[in-house]
Symmetry: C3
Subunit: 468 residues, 3 copies
């Protein structure tokens, strides 16, 4: 009664019930892998090929026929063929009439063709119902089962029943179908697998520019200046000392940039007296890449922590500490300065607590964690804890500076210490934020955010009250 | 043939097939955002409004009609209106008869009304089929696509076909529907978005109390005592030295509290001779917040690690080390004490290994990681590795104490060193656990857990053997 | 109109619509928990029991009948009974005819019986439609709602409509059904909950062997050698110094082993001139456990970082540094050696950057993170960033060695320093990789990977061009 396949495909169906047959045009890598997976999940698979006799390496249990014969076996035809070779499908128009064609193709470049492959296919064989799907899945992952990257399969199509059937197949294969609407979405779906971190691009450029600027600023102050004035070779500072100034400054600045757009938006809303006007595009984009900015800031903070903790292992530091000890022996008396102890301990403690909260923020932004909290909790963590982190890190930097802050003796070629630069944006932002949360202003802002408008027409005022 | 929307909504359906139309009552923020998303995903949307002419900012492609006209267009009506304004729906009872009303409302406070909004709606318009859904999703997230927090949409309703249709819509929008049963569940669903980490509350209070107590204990011993007896100002210890005692003690105690309820449960089962009696409520609650206790303990352990690693950077420590060196020069001879080297290295090594396993435990408790392991693996990690972590951390603390443990010279005002407090719960627990895993006791316990009862009636003994 | 259950089960359905009734055979822990959950989610549940009068602890709202009476109430019967007691079902063959039997059983050992429990059940009662499901879920998790481990429910069965109905129930209970095909898959499904990290076994054994070998290698060089020649007791090195050699070497070697199979595969493909031949089994297995190897390597790297950062806190190190200071006082003059500063700082900086990228790799391999990136991004991170990590870590080790590398003075009993061993595999691999990416070789390899074959027949050449 039961028939086991001979080769790693043990999952055939009982003959008592008719299995669904799916036809795959094309016997390339992807077609074969998809067929393999489908047979494994209980489908019957028929391949359509130009040379049915010469196709090799096909999964066990699959039939290979000519295109037109294969098409007659199934309602659903997966077109695993490059777009440039779609032409031959016009000849099969009659056989394909009314069938569901699944376009799985990808391009080599973003926006390579004026219209998406799926739309092109739909124009080519007008009698069919074209569904775009499976283009985000890799052949290797299908075959090996190692679906490490996305299990998401975007699907779109103009015929929702056809789309639903394809999405059912996706689900049966253990993947997650995501309905993207009509075939117009195909272009976006085809571009998706070609993207390389589009949301990360701007934050990465920004932080790269910031780092390079800060690096050269520090090189001028700490390598070139002593070389010019004291002929001292301090180039070794470029390995650890200077990065350990650049990274914390970049981290604090980027963290402040995460919360700045929220403040700007609040000022805009206060100024306009309504929330019903769109923000400028740059502000919208900025708001959408806050998570990325924050994570890059966390990366820099992590590097800062590591660079700081290796300090006592460094040859240079050990050499310096030895010299201090040696000179001290001459002086003999060396009482403990309680204020120095307080200063050193408090800025370290502030930094540790700030970093700890920063790591917490990072963990809650992991997709699986943020998916288990509700919006109130998410906002609490990202906003309340976020501001606390920013305050702690700013205080850490201020305490680090201590009395040296802006003292003229630290100026070199009129350049202040690098950490002073780190304080500009966070301090400005915290001051504005502090003004915004003062009761009188906060009340107005809250009313605006609940739908109140300074120059309101009747309708929106009413709606603002009645509707969610 | 295809018609692209002019404004960021490119995904209209092909006219060849009838799109499903959904009606949204209310043109507030949430109603508009939901409509926007629905149009994007291929639905046709009709808004119902009090003032159809005056509604603005609606998504492109949506129609606005009066309530009754809009309702006639669709089987499914989303009621995006505040509960206080539901009354007007009674006038539409005839039009709404037999239709699916989706209640998306939230309240401002937990348990604000005696009955849930959805049940109130169902009573108000008895002829309709009310489904509660979408209340956990934020308007901003829907519109911007940045669904960082929960994609979960809880749905409940008395009519399962209606509920199924709403859940299909949820799925099409790219969200995850979770069936919560009948409309009685609406109260819980409405309370959900108002919750702020309910499972974390007790563990956080507990650890806060613990930390405050330990902090004052250490302040008394290490700041007030030397001030009273030696007039020394040691207040700077409050920044790093004392937190670095408080955090590890809190971490170890909380970690022991994670495993304590399991031990108590085992004793209870042994005492009662059956597993078929419910545990007292406090034990049940304790067991359900073990994960949270463990993660807070991990947080403290992480802080302890950071505080420990900055030790050599601290001014006070450098000052002390310098003084030791200076005094040594007088003595000249200073042979390496192998036992001191062993002592210092072994407690550091134990601490590092304990922390490493603790981090592993933390990582496996991430939802996405724990979701990829089976129960046997999960229990292996959380129980076997967990106990190993506890043993290593307890050993780390014992080794840290070394010979000083309970020696009278460390008593100050009869108070022992703080780390001694850390050992009470873990050591007690490990001793009891050790007794429990002795073969004779373990055998009885295993039998009880497999369904055996000391004073068994026939039926349960039989069932215990036959049934799973 | 609405009826609330009295006991923690508030979710009964409205009487206006008929609820689906499900029958559960067996009133053991699992049967009861499943029944509890089903009632909570709106199903009506009837238990079948040998002694209906004597069953206790059943969820509120459930009925208990004799087996045959219970079976008549529902199409779907969940068999929550141990396999050894399935026999009695043959007597009920008539009542069960045509019904869906859900086998939820597990075994105690992998491959305990020749055929799976579900197949055995299907043979025993041939007229029924058997579906395997729910065996991966724990009773405690169902009842407490703490579904920390897998929510995945694997389902298989020969009748796809029956399977579909069971999967719908799974979905309603808030779990994730995964269709595994026909009943032949039941064996694998039954083995799944008994597995203990099968993919991790080989990597863990390998790294354990590696660590033990390296440990003894270092003990010979650093403990036994000085003891034999200088009668010095250096055993305390076994706590930190030696582990801190073993872990980084293991980390670097394992990281190189992650990328080695890719290089071997490329060489094989170049040698064979085609990608259409299967790799040897050992290579396939190696490729599938690369992620595990990498994560273990990351664990070792993390330990190495911790062990390195505690260095300045160690008694032994402080003692040594003091002695250096004391001797220096005699010599007086001790200029800063810029080259030493460069050397120390650069290997530390390389190590930090390498570790930072390594942590990034680790984070992107978290299931929830890797699920949000597309294949291009995943490959970019795992391949480009991975190679960069390997290069940085290898450079860190080379820089650590510095001039001492292979100098005869470091040999002890002809054994080179341990770090030299760490360099063998990574350096070999990087050299081969460097040769492979030279334009002439890379071009051939790319062509082969796009389907070109050195000794190609027409069909595959054509297919390679046309099909995906």
């Amino acid at each position: 009664m039961e028939k086991t396949c001979t080769d790693a495909l043990p999952l055939t169906m009982n003959s008592s019930e008719k299995q669904e047959t799916i036809c795959i045009f094309g016997t390339g890598d992807f077609g074969r892998s998809l067929g393999f997976k489908m047979i494994q999940c209980g489908y019957s698979v028929v391949f359509g090929s130009r040379n049915p006799q010469m196709s090799s390496l096909l999964p066990n249990g699959a039939e290979v026929l000519s295109y037109s014969e294969a098409a007659q076996n199934s309602d659903i035809i997966i077109v695993a063929i490059h777009r440039e070779h779609y032409d031959f499908l016009t000849e099969l128009a009659e056989v394909l009439n009314g069938k569901i064609l699944v376009d799985v193709s990808n391009n080599l470049k973003i926006n390579q063709y004026p219209e998406s492959n799926a739309e092109y296919l739909a124009q080519l064989v007008p009698g069919t119902r074209v569904v775009k799907a499976f283009n985000t899945v890799s052949a290797w992952a299908l075959q090996s089962g190692a679906l490490d990257a996305s299990r998401q399969v975007f699907a779109c199509g103009n015929d929702s029943k056809a789309k639903q059937r394809v999405m059912d197949i996706v689900r049966t294969l253990g993947l997650t179908p995501l309905d993207q609407g009509s075939l117009v979405a195909a272009k976006e779906i085809e571009n998706y697998p070609l993207q390389l971190f589009p949301m990360w691009r701007f934050p990465i450029y920004l932080s790269a520019v910031l780092c390079i600027f800060l690096f050269f600023y520090c090189v001028v102050r700490e390598v070139i200046y002593p070389y010019v004035y004291k002929k001292k070779d301090e180039t070794f500072r470029m390995a650890i000392s200077i990065p350990n100034r650049v990274f914390p400054i970049a981290a604090l600045t980027l963290l402040a940039l995460v919360y700045l757009p929220g403040v700007i938006a609040a000022i805009l809303q206060l100024y306009r007296g309504t929330k019903y006007r769109r923000f400028p595009d740059w502000l919208d984009h900025w708001m959408l890449c806050r998570k990325q900015l924050g994570l890059i800031a966390l990366g820099f903070a992590f590097l800062h922590v590591l660079y700081t903790l290796v300090i006592p292992i460094r040859y240079y530091v050990r050499w310096k500490l030895r010299n201090i000890t040696v000179t001290q022996i001459a002086n003999k008396d060396n009482p403990l300065s309680t204020s120095s102890a307080w200063h050193s301990d408090s800025y370290l403690a502030l930094g540790i607590l700030g970093f700890f909260l920063f790591v917490l923020l990072g963990i809650t932004s992991l997709p699986s964690v943020s998916n288990t909290v509700n919006w109130r909790e998410f906002r609490f963590v990202q906003s309340k804890l976020g501001y606390l982190t920013l305050i702690l890190c700013t205080a850490h930097t201020l305490a680090y500076g201590g009395k040296r802050f802006l003292s003229p003796s630290t100026l070199r070629w009129c350049l202040p210490s690098a950490y002073v630069l780190a304080l500009i944006i966070p301090c400005t932002m915290l001051v504005i934020k502090f003004i915004l949360i003062m009761p009188c202003i906060d009340k107005t802002l809250t009313r605006i955010r609940q739908g109140w408008e300074r120059n309101s027409k009747i309708s929106s005022a009413l709606n603002g009250k009645t509707d969610i």
